[in-house]
Symmetry: C2
Subunit: 110 residues, 2 copies
DNA sequence: AATCTATATCGTAATATTGCAATATATAAT
DNA sequence: ATTATATATTGCAATATTACGATATAGATT
């Protein structure tokens, strides 16, 4: 096999999994953190920041874009990349919800 | 290639990526959500909850355990699985931090 | 038009992941 | 001791991911 059985899970589960999978690689975490660090949208520059070849970076950017985590606007002959706040908010809420439910629970056995 | 170049990134980036990668599969999200839903540690039961064969579920549980997201205590001839609150808290903080930094930033171009 | 710069796509090799049948292990119950 | 139950491990096939060289594309500059 090798193909994930997405059809057996709920849409929400698949959506969250897709987002987290997209962030589940250090290069893509590094991209997100770089976009944050410069505190602006980046036009160019990303390839030079990462220890990976240009096609590899391009591929990682594509995956982040496909997952909806970043947006890319064409800006002259460069592309302006930005983090999508909404999606990050979604993830924040997801983990916040889990956290509160865990603290309310008072684990008995572990 | 095919092997992730973890050595080129910071420890923190690799740690976060490892956690998110472990959660980047709907079956593992479903496991976490089931552990939450029953509001207790689960001894047994998980295999019957998921639309996957027992060895597959066992493998997913192992990955969650390796990433540190769940803990498993042997309880008779079953195993008692629980979510590790600390690690979830870490993820919550991570996304909260990104969120606040994003709202402070007031995206200019996107 | 020719050239430069930035990014994307193609092709491909190396490796990792997903899923499961078969089998092993280990405790519980009879 | 034998059997039942729960979970893990092994082995393997199908598929996905990662990485990059080569090449394509597209706007900017000269």
């Amino acid at each position: 096999m090798g193909a994930t059985k997405t059809d057996h899970f709920t849409d929400k589960q698949n959506q969250i999994a897709t987002l987290l999978k997209a962030l589940g690689h250090p290069a893509r975490i590094a991209i997100i953190e770089y976009l944050l660090k410069v505190n602006a949208c980046i036009c160019g520059d990303i390839v030079n920041e990462l220890p990976l070849a240009q096609p590899t970076v391009s591929q990682h950017l594509k995956e982040l874009k496909n997952a909806g985590l970043i947006k890319g606007n064409i800006e002259g002959n460069a592309i302006c990349y930005c983090i999508d706040e909404k999606v990050i908010g979604k993830l924040q809420n997801y983990f916040e919800n889990i956290s509160t439910r865990l603290t309310n629970k008072k684990n008995s056995c572990c």
